[in-house]
Symmetry: C2
Subunit: 300 residues, 2 copies
């Protein structure tokens, strides 16, 4: 399974980076191969200063070795070995009318000291962070997520949409990071789902990513915008930074388990502002966004 | 003691904001009074878009009530009441030749359910974060810190300088946030020091702040700088954000104990950049700074 999924994410990384380069028309992804001292490594691809994409990373990695102590505590297990691989991406467009997107699909195995698998699961998800709310874009993104989920289980979309709203919640701001999408974890052999069934599910979701995001980019990337709208985007990007550095488990794990810093923090936006006590004007487009972030809604 | 110290920080806030306004010559501090639902409140003063100061906050607060559960766990105490007051400041100048400065001086009391004080202590410190390293500025800042410490104990400067280097360490970058200063905590009645002795010490340090920082600002605020130097400042400000959101105990406590978000996050810089895998050029001024941040040195 680990070879199969790694091969899948290798090809998916190629598909995604090729498509995004074609849309951008100017910038190319730069690739960095890196090794992890304790075992494994990754292939980081970063695009910067494009026509459409101001900064983005589409990374794959496969790491293995003894499970770091902080993760033993987290998973409540003893001294075991592990293997983890996944694809992780964050795309920050130039134009504030184009939303930021994040996605991650991953597979985890844990072994006893004889090398026998004692646990394994998939996890992942994708979510959309607009700066200006086009309801049809949020609906489209969620509809693609729902279509992919519905092929596998009638309740997956409902459940994983809810988990996404719960997870990407900036508790200290009492608002969502964006308009959500899907979030799932610990997808193990259970409830009649084999690990192969889960593989089929997660690759279905991965395959649907470009269909979920690209039409939104193509529809909004040419829209005009003002300096004030750009400032709003940079202020909202500050909330994105706050979520990733204060709350995001993946980021904190990476930082505290000696991950490759530049690959982890490629998720941070390029230009960001913090303005003291900023509030959007009443009945503005900016306020409309905040209202939806404070009260997540059902899009499909 | 709590009345005495609160009166002290009220006056110190006035002294510091008046002096910084006089230097800036354009922007004024805007004041926000706020109440904490569970007891107490604060007086936040923020300056933005000045000639010299791009963003800064000089805040005082005095809060009390039942100790929040997360802090009970942290202090390893049962259900007690507390009182805490302090002054906290962060100043982000426009010009990359002028360093950012942070300071905090605070007093904490804990009570049993009969209202008897069961513990009380002072804490605080100040540290300097340059974007370009003028060694004489770092020496001046540390010399003022040392002079204030030496009046109270021959080992305070050595010990609290070391604690500062240890505390403001961005573990995930393996570098210091800046060139340090002083950091001290749990200054309790012990080793022949009464709580009055500690009051004398901490107010000596607070009184020395303007002498430590203002001459540096006045010497550097008119220096010319290039757009590339400004970009470097914004990238380094990103490291400041990383420290405050990932590692700083005060910030995380505030965010997790329902503090006033805008007063806590006033510490975040106004314009910030994250550039993938940025490295300064060999033998540049930027690299000289990094070398000192990676290997903290003795300035006096």
């Amino acid at each position: 399974m680990k070879e199969a999924f790694y091969t899948y994410i290798e090809k998916l990384q190629d598909r995604i980076t090729s498509k995004l380069e074609a849309i951008d028309g100017k910038a190319k992804f730069q690739q960095d191969l890196w090794q992890r001292k304790e075992g494994g490594g990754g292939r980081t691809r970063v695009i910067e200063n494009g026509n459409v994409f101001e900064k983005g990373g589409v990374n794959i990695s496969a790491v293995h070795g003894p499970l770091p102590e902080s993760m033993q505590n987290y998973f409540k297990v003893e001294d075991v070995d592990f293997f983890a691989c996944g694809l992780s991406l964050v795309i920050h467009p130039v134009n504030p009318m184009v939303p930021t997107v994040h996605a991650n699909w991953r597979y985890f195995e844990m072994y006893d000291k004889q090398g026998t698998i004692v646990d394994r699961w998939f996890g992942g998800g994708q979510d959309l962070t607009p700066y200006y709310l086009f309801e049809e874009d949020a609906k489209h993104f969620h509809q693609v997520c729902k279509n992919a989920c519905d092929k596998h289980h009638p309740e997956f979309y409902r459940d994983y949409k809810q988990k996404c709203d719960d997870y990407f919640w900036n508790t200290h701001r009492e608002e969502a990071r964006g308009v959500g999408g899907l979030f799932f974890d610990y997808c193990r052999e259970k409830h009649g789902f084999s690990i192969d069934n889960w593989y089929d599910f997660i690759t279905e979701i991965g395959d649907s990513f470009l269909e979920a995001y690209v039409p939104i980019v193509e529809k909004r990337m040419q829209l005009p915008y003002t300096p004030a709208q750009r400032t709003w985007q940079e202020i909202r990007r500050g909330r994105y930074v706050e979520f990733n550095l204060v709350h995001d488990k993946g980021t904190l794990f990476g930082l505290k388990t000696n991950g490759r810093i530049e690959s982890i923090l490629m998720s941070l936006p390029p230009h960001v502002q913090w303005v003291y006590d900023h509030h959007p004007e009443k009945d503005s487009e900016e306020e409309k966004l905040i209202n939806v972030l404070k009260h997540p809604i059902d899009w499909v």
